[in-house]
């Protein structure tokens, strides 16, 4: 029985992204060596918009359900993460339009890689078969490895790519071993079947425990939670800024989706304390590490570890499914919005060869470019968690979920950490508004692409803070239909 047309609708966003990616790839060699690739970027952005449209189309109730021989499943959960990933890809494309020529890496492959990488991330959120999850994970990872090394003449960038690649493959091997053992222990590679076996059979094969542990290791690496966070600062510091915006949010969100489906949602045995410890470690290491950083990208890398920790808090409270999972989903969206925004500003500021990525370079930005400074301030305030930003609401939701599942200590540690975090974000704000500028050189004018990327993130962050209801409802719909319960 061949796949029906409904099946194709269920992978419509992926199809659109893949076709657009290939089109960009084919167009690239046709353009002359000195032609600007901006057109390709705009074309790629168009593809993202179309994919977004396809996702919205796919969200109709008629298309919900399993597709392609139970390989994937379209539900609230997958649609939500599709939207996050595609919007991040769109913003990244937009902010790269001027970044690439400025760094003399104006290649069409860049856009193709983002689009094709997004295919993998989208599939990660909808796949319910370990085979497909694994391949999607690899697509997203390999695309990220290449993008991290895209400034291939820079020693930092290639080093970042190499570290990411070697450690990433190392972690993938762990993940894969876990998958193999899970397959052996449960006799299936289908997530729902595995969940059934783990939940109903009287005797769980001990191999399953090792399997879950190894899978957690692999995914923990992808989401950068302690103790598997260690690669993050190095890789983020070396990679091109727009790429960091991309890979600190989209693959992470997708990996969180997999983690929810695979570890939390299958009610894998004994995950609770592992998540608890990982949450505490990530928050503490991230925040403590960030305090003394002088490079803003590195600082945000540590901060992203901390934010992975806050997300883990949401996971830990997933014993109340509706609360925990929807809090985690909301948080990943809010984090994506604010982090992409911050990196959009940073990539605009970076200058050629990313010279200006020290926090000191932001001194006096409040006067050199009030609009940029205001935008960055807003994103940083959101990362701190000040009300009316998405960051506040996300944190609020996560911690109230944690408290409602009686995780009092975790809540306390989290709140203390978020207080500690405010210190280093604030340092940047202080630098921008209250210090003398280091140079008098004017900040390059904000072009349309970066401007749009910032605007999208700004609107998303504000929207999630002021009007979170629509998103909240959507996320709350997800856990009830997840795992078919």
């Amino acid at each position: 029985m061949p796949p029906s047309s409904t099946d194709y609708v269920r992978i419509l966003p992926e199809i659109v992204l893949a076709v657009w990616g290939m089109a960009v790839m084919f167009a690239e060699p046709l353009l002359g060596p000195h032609t600007s690739r901006k057109g390709l970027g705009v074309f790629a952005a168009l593809g993202c918009l179309l994919a977004l449209g396809a996702t919205v189309f796919q969200a109709q109730p008629a298309y919900a359900g399993f597709g392609f021989y139970n390989m994937l499943r379209v539900d609230h959960f997958s649609v939500f993460f599709h939207c996050v990933v595609i919007l991040v890809a769109l913003s990244t494309t937009l902010m790269s339009l001027d970044y690439l020529p400025a760094h003399k890496i104006d290649k069409g492959e860049y856009y193709a890689l983002i689009l094709l990488g997004a295919v993998g991330m989208c599939l990660m959120s909808s796949a319910v078969e370990l085979v497909l999850i694994f391949i999607a994970l690899e697509i997203s990872s390999i695309a990220s490895y290449i993008l991290a090394g895209f400034r291939r003449h820079s020693a930092e960038s290639t080093e970042s790519a190499m570290k990411y690649f070697l450690l990433g493959s190392f972690a993938t091997a762990f993940f894969l071993y876990g998958v193999a053992l899970l397959f052996g222990a449960t006799g299936s590679t289908n997530v729902f079947r595995i969940a059934e076996v783990l939940n109903t059979s009287a005797h769980i094969e001990p191999l399953a425990y090792i399997a879950v542990a190894l899978i957690f290791t692999g995914l923990g690496f992808k989401v950068a939670c302690a103790p598997f966070h260690i690669w993050t600062p190095d890789v983020y510091e070396g990679a091109p800024s727009p790429v960091v915006a991309f890979m600190s949010t989209a693959p992470k969100a997708a990996a969180f989706a997999v983690l929810i489906r695979l570890v939390i949602d299958t009610a894998s045995p004994n995950w609770f304390w592992v998540i608890w410890v990982a949450a505490v470690l990530s928050m503490s290491v991230g925040n403590l590490g960030a305090i003394l950083q002088s490079n803003i990208k590195r600082m945000l890398a540590y901060s992203s570890i901390a934010h992975a920790g806050y997300l883990m808090v949401a996971f830990a409270s997933a014993s109340n499914r509706e609360l925990g999972i929807s809090a985690a989903m909301f948080y990943s969206a809010a984090y994506a919005a604010m982090n992409v925004g911050a990196f959009a500003v940073i990539s605009h500021m970076a200058g050629s060869h990313e010279r200006f990525s020290s926090i000191d370079d932001y001194a006096g930005l409040g006067r050199r470019s009030p609009a940029l400074a205001a935008a960055l301030t807003f994103f940083l305030l959101s990362l701190i968690g000040i009300p009316i930003t998405g960051g506040f609401f996300a944190k609020f939701y996560v911690f109230s979920a944690a408290l409602r599942t009686h995780l009092i200590w975790l809540t306390l540690i989290g709140l203390v950490n978020s207080g500690m975090g405010s210190y280093y974000y604030l340092r940047v704000i202080v630098k921008m508004y209250m210090n003398e500028p280091r140079t008098t050189a004017p900040v390059p004018p904000v072009r349309l692409g970066v401007g749009l990327a910032i605007a999208i993130s700004l609107i998303a962050t504000l929207w999630l803070g002021v009007w979170p209801n629509a998103i909240l409802h959507y996320t709350q719909g997800a856990p009830t239909i997840l795992a078919g319960k």
């Binding site: 796949p3 992978i11 893949a18 990616g21 290939m22 790839m25 060596p33 392609f68 021989y69 390989m71 994937l72 290649k107 492959e109 193709a112 890689l113 094709l116 990488g117 295919v119 993998g120 599939l123 078969e129 085979v131 497909l132 391949i135 999607a136 690899e138 697509i139 390999i142 695309a143 490895y145 290449i146 090394g149 895209f150 291939r152 003449h153 790519a161 005797h203 094969e205 001990p206 191999l207 425990y209 090792i210």
Partner: protein, 165 residues
């Protein structure tokens, strides 16, 4: 017979793996990896995985390892440089690995409810059946791998091409 063949190939396999670790010349490591892969292909045959065994030889030992050796030759990777090792790896990674390994082996040996003794070729997996499965149940995964390969090709081109300036 099965037992004998398994032991022979397992010894080859393990020996190759250990040799990979011991050798200081990169090219020797690569060659011992080929030994590992070849004997693994034999073991797959013992388990009846015909198609996989063939693919193992063609793709792994044939294509991938050739690529490795090509790069080793290209970059003139000779002896391994002796440099200060990493203490973390030495004092945490390796013990951790041993603890993990012991636990794993312990679990394997202690709990083996379905440890059915296998006959030679207990599951027969010929190419046509694998192919059927690949193009029905795993159709989407199969199609998606094309994206993966595309990315890999593009990445290799982007990263390794000579600078145009």
């Amino acid at each position: 017979m099965h037992q004998f063949l398994f032991i022979v190939f397992a010894v080859f396999c393990a020996g190759g793996a250990i040799n990979l670790l011991v050798q200081r010349k990169t090219i020797n490591s690569a060659l011992s990896l080929i030994v590992v892969m070849g004997s693994l292909a034999m073991i797959y045959l013992l388990l009846g995985a015909e198609f996989v065994a063939v693919v193992q030889v063609i793709i792994y030992a044939g294509a991938i390892m050739v690529l490795y050796i090509f790069v080793i030759m290209l970059l003139n990777a000779g002896d391994e440089e002796a440099s200060k090792g990493s203490n973390v790896a030495k004092y945490f990674g390796i013990p951790g690995l041993f603890i993990g390994g012991i636990i794993g082996i312990g679990v394997l040996l202690k709990h083996r409810p379905n440890d059915t003794p296998l006959k030679l070729g207990a599951l027969y997996g010929p190419a046509d059946q694998v192919g059927m499965l690949l193009f029905t149940k795993y159709l989407l995964a199969f199609e998606v791998t094309s994206v993966l390969v595309l990315i890999a090709i593009m990445g290799a081109v982007v990263l390794a091409r000579r600078s145009d300036s």
